[in-house]
């Protein structure tokens, strides 16, 4: 879905993604980092129950709202960091946002 321009390659950070350890590229937003490793789904819509992906990538649409370190945040506006706990709330009976 996306490949990385070689001149951007930098280190990775270890995060917990939906309960599992994952290595994400550092220095970008959580949304860009997830797209960079092929994760297109950002959450499950609490109103339609359908899967969502990041859409506007500039803080407008809230489609990339996920639980980051216990708080619902826009992944496209949140820099990824070592040790972050990211929950995309993908379960079919997701709680209300």
């Amino acid at each position: 879905m996306f490949k990385k321009d070689e001149s951007f390659i930098n280190g990775t950070v270890r995060v917990t993604l939906d309960g599992h350890p994952a290595d994400l590229p550092e220095g970008t937003s959580v949304a860009a980092a997830l797209l960079g490793v092929g994760e297109l789904t950002s959450r499950r819509s609490p109103s339609s129950g359908r899967k969502c992906g990041p859409h506007c990538l500039m803080g407008v649409c809230y489609e990339c709202l996920m639980e980051i370190d216990g708080v619902k945040r826009q992944a496209c506006m949140t820099p990824v960091a070592e040790g972050m706990v990211i929950n995309r709330l993908l379960a079919e009976t997701g709680e209300d946002a």
Binding site: M1, D5, S29, L57, V60, C61, Y62
Partner: protein, 475 residues
């Protein structure tokens, strides 16, 4: 940190950086609140860390942001990144959230430089993962070096769609098709804007080069397509459209949509600024004087947030606002302000010459905005066009009535994504302009913050009156 400043600037794109630079260089106490992690806004996103390859690919139009950011960093203005402003008061009070804590600060003047966003145009299937804003994907390139891979379709209208196409072609991205919804035959009104545009051959040359690059590639380029739709189950699988009598269908991994750019106006609406409708571009923008001052003495609008005119104009407008505020604060006399403003106004005039032509060429023609009943209008609350039409048929005539009845515009994005199209749909249903159906009331908090965070906030002594969150709402 002191909670009172001479000036607070919201946003650090070309306009915000320019205002802050002018005022910071004069020794004033300037606080810049930026939602992003680094200065640059959308256009100059990540400019301070951009590798050589990005600078080369995006060219001088991007690279010049580096000089603007360097000037800003050296200006003495205080920069706070990751600061989400959630309330602006006409008296100069600003509330914002940063690192999970909210703060209230105040300034003599507040400059709202919140820029622009891509015009959201609902099409069938636009909620599918894999459908993204073309400008958003451009951000991914600047910020993270991400290049779309697989089968890519670009669709919509406007020069930025074609610019994105040429950049992707140069990167060797496999574009299945470019589907332009712009009518094949330009609107007649376009012709009268040709003479001023001809005074800027450099600008027109840029446009022609872009079109030639697309033509020179093997990418199928359709103009005047209708019935654009994204199709898929759990994610995008296919893009469909109609080209005259021909039905088009492309298997696709990513659909990049772009329908032009509109001002981001939530702060102005929340603060009760007087808004004006632009009938050509079909958007609301704050009514300002020549320095960007809104109807509120302490509130200024700078850059594309006040009216979309691009990065160069945004920078000039930002500097003009800075000069006027310096004058109001007694730092420079009016003749000095005017002398410094003269070259900026000349640049603005020259930059504006081709714009009416381009704007008219790609203006959203009312007839081309057709929405199907089963298309999702409000992504947050999953409200369809048909549900909105139904309540209008039952008697609703104002956007806020429709919102209460359907929940359209009530989700976390607060109507940012559905608001413009909602006005079009309700207007069409009532056979009147989208400017005559009211405007969604925008209330604080403008960004999601927890009640706990608000409760823990230290408040300044604003007044002895009881809190009234709705006092600034103009009807």
């Amino acid at each position: 940190m002191n909670a009172h400043h001479d000036v607070i600037v919201i946003g650090a794109g070309p306009a915000g950086m320019a205002t802050a630079s002018v005022l910071g260089e004069m020794g004033l106490d300037v606080l810049v609140l930026d939602e992003q992690p680094r200065p640059g806004g959308q256009i100059y996103r990540n400019i301070e860390n951009a590798p050589e390859s990005t600078l080369r690919l995006m060219g001088e139009d991007y690279a010049k942001g580096g000089r603007i950011a360097a000037r800003f960093r050296a200006s003495g203005a205080r920069y706070e990144s990751g600061a989400a402003v959630w309330q602006v008061d006409p008296e100069g009070f600003v509330c914002y959230s940063r690192d999970g804590a909210s703060k209230q600060v105040r300034a003599n003047y507040v400059v709202v430089a919140t820029g622009a966003m891509e015009r959201p145009v609902p099409i069938p299937g636009w909620t599918l993962p894999g459908v993204m804003g073309a400008g958003g994907v451009n951000n991914l390139a600047k910020e993270a070096g991400l290049v779309p891979e697989g089968r890519i379709v670009l669709a919509g209208s406007g020069p930025l769609l074609l610019l994105e196409a040429t950049q992707l072609i140069r990167k060797g991205v496999n574009i299945e098709a470019i589907l332009e919804t712009t009518p094949r035959i330009p609107q007649i009104s376009t012709a009268r804007y040709m003479p001023p545009a001809a005074l800027r051959p450099d600008f027109l040359w840029k446009g022609l080069t872009m079109l030639r690059q697309i033509k020179g590639s093997s990418v199928p380029h359709y103009k005047g397509v209708t019935e654009l739709a994204a199709v898929g189950g759990e994610r995008l699988a296919r893009v469909e459209a109609r080209n005259g009598s021909e039905k088009l269908s492309f298997d696709a991994d990513l659909l990049l949509l772009h329908f032009g750019v509109i001002p981001a106006t939530h702060v102005f609406s929340q603060a009760g600024c007087r808004m004006k409708w632009n009938a050509i571009q079909r958007y609301w923008h704050p009514e300002c004087d020549q320095w960007g001052r809104t109807n509120h003495e302490r509130l200024f609008a700078a850059g594309d947030g006040s009216f979309v005119a691009g990065a160069i104009a945004a920078q000039c407008k930002g500097e003009l606002t800075g000069l006027e505020i310096a004058h109001c604060l007694g730092v420079i006399p009016d003749h000095e302000r005017d002398v410094l403003a003269a070259p900026l106004r000349r640049s603005l005039r020259s930059d504006a010459l081709p714009r009416p032509f381009v704007d008219a060429m790609y203006a959203p023609a009312p007839g081309t905005l057709k929405f199907a009943d089963d298309t999702v209008l409000c992504r947050c609350e999953n409200v369809t066009v048909g549900q909105v039409r139904e309540v209008v048929r039952q008697g609703a005539t104002d956007l806020n009535e429709v919102k209460i009845l359907t929940r359209c515009g009530m989700g976390p994005c607060q109507g940012r994504m559905c608001g413009p199209a909602l006005a079009e749909v309700v207007g069409q249903e009532l056979s009147r302009g989208p400017d005559r159906v009211g405007r969604l009331s925008i209330r604080p908090p403008l960004k999601g913050v927890s009640l706990g965070e608000i409760a823990e906030m230290e408040l300044m002594n604003m007044s002895s009156e009881p809190a009234n969150l709705f006092k600034n709402q103009s009807k």
